[in-house]
């Protein structure tokens, strides 16, 4: 008799457990979208992409957008192979044939590249020629560009970095910045650039505008235009690059992926882009 009572209680407990379960899974859905979208790529877009994904998932409870920040190169490669339904890139696709896997690149944001110097540096404007002179090693002293008599410490991003590619292209260096002087200090992330520039009075570097902390470093005018959201929007400040969503051209996206692209390009998404100090594309 005791045994049977115990069994009954156990069955009852298990049943309650399941009841609780089904309650939970039917109650929370806000929309009819559900599924997982695999995305990944550029690390430069990480901040804004996480904000976009957070908001999108908030609105669609049964949706999960995966994002692996592993660099534009991987984003492009895996979008071509189909591993990512959406790839992220902070540079345009290469046209030399290595990346023409039938991808469609949709720009959704513009990022300003800020030229940063130490707080103690007096130079407030650099032209395109001066900047390329500094980065190719033709100009080695701040006095040549109107500053103090001090040697310039050039700091650059690593080969392959989207910021470096975009920077090199805009200031007229060779492809990928291959003629940046070899003795330049190489920093492999935005934080390292900012730290080195803030601790070295002679340093110059370039970094994403969205990550600049003006309490640590100066931003220098480029061709007479100071960097700000306004000058980026007006197109007065020319040192900038675009962020892309990469999808298979011509292919129909899954409903969730399509909804995410629409969200990013829509008002709410573009507002998030703007909130992250980027210039919305629309």
């Amino acid at each position: 008799m005791k045994k049977i009572t115990g069994l009954l209680i156990a069955v009852l407990m298990v049943a309650t457990l399941f009841a609780g379960c089904s309650d939970g899974s039917t109650g929370g859905a806000d929309s009819n979208l559900s599924g997982v979208v695999k995305t990944g790529g550029s690390t430069s877009v990480e901040k804004v992409m996480n904000a976009l994904i957070y908001q999108f998932q908030n609105e669609n409870r049964d949706v999960k957008i995966d994002y692996e920040p592993n660099g534009s190169g991987d984003g492009i490669k895996n979008a071509i192979s189909g591993l990512y339904e959406i790839g992220h890139s902070s540079r345009g696709l290469k046209t030399d044939g290595s990346e023409d896997g039938g991808l469609k690149a949709t720009a959704y944001a513009i990022d300003g590249i800020a030229i940063v110097t130490n707080k103690g540096n007096g130079v407030d404007n650099l032209t395109k020629e001066q900047l390329s002179g500094i980065y190719t090693g033709a100009i080695t002293n701040w006095s040549e560009v109107g500053g103090n008599d001090a040697p310039i410490t050039v700091i650059t991003r690593e080969s392959g970095s989207g910021t470096r590619d975009a920077f090199a292209e805009i200031i007229g260096l060779e492809k990928g910045g291959s003629n940046i002087i070899a003795s330049a200090n190489v920093a492999d992330n935005t934080g390292a650039i900012q730290t080195q520039v803030s601790s070295n009075p002679n340093a110059i570097g370039y970094m994403s505008f969205s990550d600049v902390d003006t309490s640590k470093v100066n931003t220098v005018q480029y061709e007479g235009a100071a960097i700000s959201t306004d000058t980026l929007k007006d197109g007065i400040y020319k040192l900038k690059r675009e962020f892309y969503l990469l999808t298979k051209a011509g292919a129909t996206l899954s409903p969730v992926a399509q909804a995410f692209v629409d969200f990013v390009m829509g008002d709410a998404g573009q507002q998030i882009v703007a909130d992250n100090k980027l210039l919305p594309i629309r």
């Binding site: 690390t43 592993n70 660099g71 534009s72 190169g73 991987d74 492009i76 490669k77 290595s98 001090a150 040697p151 410490t153 700091i155 690593e158 080969s159 392959g160 970095s161 989207g162 060779e174 492809k175 990928g176 910045g177 291959s178 070899a182 003795s183 330049a184 200090n185 190489v186 920093a187 492999d188 390292a192 730290t195 080195q196 601790s199 070295n200 002679n202 340093a203």
Partner: protein, 301 residues
């Protein structure tokens, strides 16, 4: 008809247990071997094609690393790594052995225990913390020196060496100390009985007897220094040029973590190639270590 008194049961089942345990152990042992073999094969398969395409000579002795221009010479990095590692060892070894002697022979028990705990703690600190320390403290200090000499830059070989010294000291100290403690007390007693002073018997008898252990510590230190990536990236400046003490350098380990994320095509393959070179470096060091450890056994045995 009970013949055996055993917790398992009959002889038959006992044998079965023995055999199955044997197989389980064999599988565990093989797993480790398989891992090493797989890694070696993987490194060679993924690294070798790039080296072949670039050309072994051009890859190992080329002086320009410029992936955008398809120039993949890693000579500056190899030389920088070797110089950094050996300078660091050259300074850390005598310092480490002296500290080990101090801890093993000259310090009263409690102080020695406390110091040893601190040194062990030092050995366990993640390298990124050392890197941070270097970037915040050592780089600005070296910068002062660079400014005084007229060519200020940010990172430098000197800063990398200083960081490496601090990082390998704990290893050298603790291995050397263990070796010194393992020398039989009689050796020292005999020396003292013959009329030598305490310091004489330590440095003429005990330390030479512990030689093989100290060398093992040195090789371990070399291994750690040559394989270190994170800390040196944060202080070395990472310019892939021929090393000078006060100019930025890039060590062999640095290219992979720095450039991996955005690399593609030949560039990425070349990074695999660097990985293979590093792998061979470390293997050579390990082989040397094994040789020395074996020899050490003979001497003491």
């Amino acid at each position: 008809m009970k013949q055996t008194i055993s917790i398992i049961g009959s002889n038959k089942s006992k044998n079965a247990v023995e055999k199955s345990m044997n197989i389980i152990y064999l599988i565990c042992g093989l797993a480790a071997v398989v891992c090493v073999v797989c890694m070696t094969v993987y490194m060679v398969i993924s690294g070798w094609p790039a080296i072949q395409k670039i050309g072994v000579f051009k890859f190992l002795f080329g002086q320009v690393w410029n992936p955008e221009n398809s120039q993949f010479g890693i000579a500056p990095m190899i030389i920088s790594s070797i110089i950094a590692t050996f300078t660091a060892i050259l300074i850390a070894l005598p310092a480490g052995v002296l500290v080990a002697v101090f801890l093993a022979k000259l310090t009263p028990g409690k102080l020695s225990t406390a110091l040893r705990m601190l040194i062990d703690l030092l050995a366990g600190i993640p390298s990124v913390v050392y890197g941070l320390l270097g970037a915040i403290l050592i780089v600005p200090l070296v910068f002062e020196l660079q400014t005084a000499l007229g060519f200020p830059t940010s990172g430098s070989l000197l800063a990398a060496i200083i960081i490496l010294i601090i990082m390998i000291l704990p290893t050298i100290i603790s291995v050397s100390e263990t070796a010194i403690r393992a020398v039989p007390k009689q050796y020292e007693d005999a020396s003292l009985a013959l009329g030598s002073t305490k310091l004489q018997s330590i440095f003429k008898v005990t330390v030479p007897a512990a030689k093989s252990g100290i060398v093992a510590g040195m090789v371990l230190g070399v291994g750690r220094a040559i394989g270190e990536a994170m800390a040196v990236i944060m202080v070395a400046g990472n310019a892939a040029i021929m090393p000078e003490f006060l100019k930025p350098v890039r060590l062999l380990t640095a290219s992979i973590p720095i450039e991996w994320a955005y690399s593609s095509g030949m560039h990425r393959e070349a990074l695999y190639g660097i990985g293979l070179v590093l792998f061979i470096f470390i293997m050579i060091i390990n082989i040397i270590l094994n040789k020395i450890l074996k020899k050490g056994g003979d001497v003491r045995g």
